[in-house]
């Protein structure tokens, strides 16, 4: 590890700028750690403990700004420090000219009296209060906040139903309202397919698949992951389905969720039957529910394909792979890799619904799959949602900060039992500007570590994204492929490919007889 430092005497930048400079330095190629702080005595000790002290830093005083980087090579360290002054001078990220930043809901509503929807992203303990205020003010609510108590959610949704206003959430990661994406949202065209989703990444995946199929979204209404629980009883799902039934722009309706509580199924069935429009339902991880009024499918990709087929007046039949020949070629590449592959699958996901979908596909063919990093016996397959509440308390979601997942990928390269690593990548607005970059770098390191130990590590993934997303779908896919990731067109296909890697005998079922 090479450590270099630069001192800028009497240079003062506010804390937000210093934090951004340190982040930007850490994101540079080969840089492992970086600091931008004042040269106080306490910080000298801090730099020493962090392995960032140098003879230059020792000379800095409390009025000097210290910039230190630890990098893989001399060139990486020098390059990073060469960028320091430009980073320090870079302007702050400010709201666009003329845009105010009201500090209370009342002020915001006074400034925008015509606003029909309030987006709320405050700590969960306070979110219900703001949501209640918005509903009382006659606005729809997009409630991004999580950790809202269940009793509060029920009360909010009852209030929303009484007032005929949508309460999307809590813990609603994504929504599309009349073409406007809220939260984590891919850039998708407006269209004729409406979606009700108790799953943020589920909504994103379906919208992105629809875009690839040439279809667009009229509205995508998130309802929060607990809406179809027995306690909440599908209050918002019912209202959202009713809204789409009345919406003239919506011709086809898609419902996506994790398995609904049995007690909510009759309500759901009634709502689907009452739609009066063709509908597709996907309750991940469960067999088709005996509820009429909709075509039931088992994967997010199938939900999109089925909806597109219904919209076009075509028939739909699911298929394990879009391009079996490409899958055979990828399996051949894997077989040609030197080294012995471990018997275990490790899934490291940033999208909770995608992780859930993969578990649902793989458990029947691989056996038990645990959903955390530490529990369960050795040698068990694991698929972990790194965005789960218990792993993100006090830190950014992995869609925003890919560092935690990248660390897990690197670690996987050192685990002899892991033969297949399964990942997702979610693009769109609101997420990291280049999520493939850190993931690709970590995959390279993991595969190199495995190779050095005489093992083969297959990395399989899929990307939720569109060509219009800020990150660019094609470029992100290319970066992953260059790093050695086998990128499949959907999460379901990626999971099936992972199954083929570990259970080659499944090829006859999933791929049919070889040509």
């Amino acid at each position: 590890m090479i450590v270099h430092a630069a001192i800028r005497p009497a240079v003062y930048r506010d804390s937000v700028v210093l934090m951004r400079v340190a982040e930007a330095l850490r994101a540079r190629p080969g840089v492992r750690e970086a600091a931008a702080l004042m040269g106080t005595p306490a910080n000298h000790a801090l730099l020493g403990s962090a392995g960032l002290a140098t003879p230059e830093t020792a000379r800095a005083g409390p009025t000097d700004l210290v910039l230190a980087v630890a990098a893989d090579t001399e060139a990486d360290a020098q390059d990073a420090l060469a960028a320091v002054d430009a980073l320090l001078e870079a302007g702050p990220r400010r709201p666009a000219a003329g845009r105010s930043r009201p500090r209370t809901l009342r002020t915001a509503l006074a400034e925008a009296p015509d606003a029909a929807l309030v987006a709320i992203s405050v700590p969960g303990a306070f979110a219900a209060l703001e949501a209640r205020r918005a509903l009382h003010a006659g606005r729809h609510v997009f409630l991004f906040s999580d950790n809202v108590p269940l009793a509060e959610e029920i009360a909010l949704k009852r209030l929303a139903v009484a007032r005929r206003r949508l309460c999307m959430g809590p813990d609603c990661g994504t929504a599309y309202v009349a073409g406007v994406g809220l939260g984590f949202a891919n850039v998708v065209p407006c269209g004729r397919i409406g979606i009700v989703a108790a799953s943020g990444t589920g909504l994103q995946a379906i919208a992105a698949h629809l875009a690839a199929l040439g279809e667009g979204v009229s509205h995508g209404l998130g309802v929060g992951g607990r809406d179809l629980s027995a306690e909440v009883g599908g209050l918002m799902t019912g209202l959202a389905l009713d809204a789409l039934a009345r919406d003239p722009a919506t011709e086809i309706v898609v419902l996506v969720s994790k398995p609904p509580a049995p007690a909510t199924v009759p309500t759901l069935a009634t709502a689907l039957r009452a739609l009066g429009k063709p509908a597709v339902a996907c309750a991940l991880g469960t067999s088709p529910v005996a509820a009429g009024g909709a075509r039931w499918v088992e994967t997010l990709e199938d939900a999109a394909r089925c909806a597109a087929a219904l919209a076009a007046g075509r028939g739909f039949s699911p298929a394990p792979f879009a391009d079996p020949a490409a899958v055979r070629a990828a399996l051949a590449r894997r077989a040609a890799e030197p080294g012995r592959a471990g018997p275990v699958l490790l899934g490291l996901y940033t999208g909770g619904t995608l992780a859930h979908e993969a578990r649902g596909i793989l458990a029947p063919v691989l056996g038990p799959i645990v959903d955390d990093l530490r529990g369960g016996p050795a040698g068990v397959h694991r698929i972990v949602d790194l965005g789960a509440d218990e792993l993100t308390a006090g830190r950014p979601h992995p869609m925003l900060d890919p560092a935690a997942r990248a660390a897990g990928v690197r670690e996987a390269g050192r685990l002899a039992e892991v033969g297949v690593l399964l990942v997702d990548l979610v693009l769109g607005r609101g997420v990291h500007p280049d999520p493939a970059g850190p993931l690709a770098a970590a995959v390279r390191e993991a595969r190199a570590a495995a190779r050095a130990a005489g093992r083969a590590l297959t990395v399989v993934g899929s990307v939720v994204g569109t060509a219009a997303d800020p990150q660019g779908l094609a470029g992100q896919v290319a970066r992953l492929r260059e790093a050695g990731v086998e990128v499949l067109p959907s999460n379901a296909q990626a999971a099936r490919f992972a199954a083929l890697c570990l259970r080659p005998a499944l090829a006859t079922v999933l791929l049919g007889p070889a040509a």
Binding site: Y12, D14, E33, M38, A42, S49, A125, G394, R395, P396
Partner: protein
């Protein structure tokens, strides 16, 4: 360093009236004083009045709640030309008080009619609800709040960076947390016993520690001082005041020293003062919006002091480290 100065053809200049003036700033703006812009940020210009000691700072801020205890709220954006080195002068009024602050020669801010901002720490303020601490800890990364909350609450967020090897935040965050943890523990114990010597040692060790123009440790110490003043620890605050003020001069940045000095005098920024007076969701949101982690670090120190002062010592417990650790592990209020 002298800045480019205002436009030459500014004529009589722009005449504005301040929206609010902090009491400390008003006391410092004596007619005839001169100074210079010491540091300039998009929404703030920090001014040092001669001779430039820790009690000679005032800050000019763009509209909004004053983040500094010696701040002046301006009615609009600060002039772009008012960079470091721009001269500052206090104009006298008819009654011997300051009439206006002049930046360069073209920008004049009337002070006389401006209302006073609420920067004083209100004594006897309510304690911080546990839910508020949890909510803050759930959204803050970096700085010293996560490690402090992990110390104070048994149900702190899992994975809080309490030591090396934990996964939260950057490696530097983990090192910062591991260095700060024993010091925070010592500060809690000393505050609980109202014991000035170890409290001073711990507070001094935090000065200048961590990222930020006012390092995270300074903000935490400022919050701790506010917690002492609001929670019945005024005697302890008085006992360590001189030592802490002296130490700050050599242990942290000049601005950090000025902020600690103001806190010792019972003044903090308006978002912090409002939070102390009423720790509700709106006040918390405004506090956490201060700086990168400054507001969160203030909250950490404030909560530490309030919790320590609100935790009764058991019989024979004085000096019993294990018992104190038990309180930290979850028996607190």
């Amino acid at each position: 360093m002298i800045g480019p100065g205002p436009p030459a053809a500014a004529g009589p200049g722009l005449r504005l009236a301040a929206d609010a003036v902090a009491p400390l700033a008003r006391a410092r703006l004596r007619p005839g004083r001169r100074g210079w812009v010491a540091s300039r940020f998009p929404r703030t210009a920090n001014v040092r009045l001669a001779p430039g000691g820790p009690e000679d700072w005032v800050s000019l801020h763009a509209p909004g709640p004053l983040p500094s205890p010696f701040g002046i709220a301006c009615p609009g954006a600060l002039p772009a030309w008012a960079v470091a080195g721009t001269p500052v002068a206090v104009e006298p009024g008819g009654d011997g008080a300051a009439a206006a602050l002049r930046l360069g020669s073209a920008w004049r801010l009337a002070l006389a009619e401006a209302p006073s901002a609420e920067t004083a720490v209100p004594p006897g303020a309510p304690p911080v609800p546990a839910a508020t601490l949890r909510a803050a800890a759930a959204i803050v990364t970096g700085g010293l709040l996560p490690v402090t909350v992990a110390l104070l609450m048994r149900d702190a967020p899992p994975g809080a960076p309490c030591g090396p090897g934990t996964a939260r935040g950057t490696a530097l965050d983990a090192v910062l947390a591991s260095q700060a943890r024993p010091v925070l523990l010592a500060l809690f114990r000393a505050t609980r016993r109202r014991d000035p010597a170890p409290a001073l040692r711990a507070a001094v060790a935090l000065l200048g520690l961590g990222p930020g123009l006012t390092p995270a440790g300074d903000d935490l110490v400022i919050g701790w001082l506010a917690g002492l003043q609001a929670g019945g620890g005024g005697a302890l605050c008085g006992a360590i005041a001189e030592g802490l003020g002296d130490a700050a001069a050599s242990r942290t940045t000049p601005l950090g020293t000025a902020l600690v000095t103001a806190a010792l005098a019972g003044h903090v920024g308006v978002p912090a003062s409002r939070f102390v007076a009423g720790p509700g969701p709106v006040a918390l949101t405004a506090l956490l919006a201060v700086g990168a982690t400054s507001g969160a670090d203030f909250l950490a120190g404030y909560a530490l002091a309030r919790r320590a002062l609100g935790t009764a010592l058991g019989a024979g417990e004085r000096g019993d480290r294990a018992a104190t650790r038990g309180v930290l592990a979850g028996a607190g209020p």
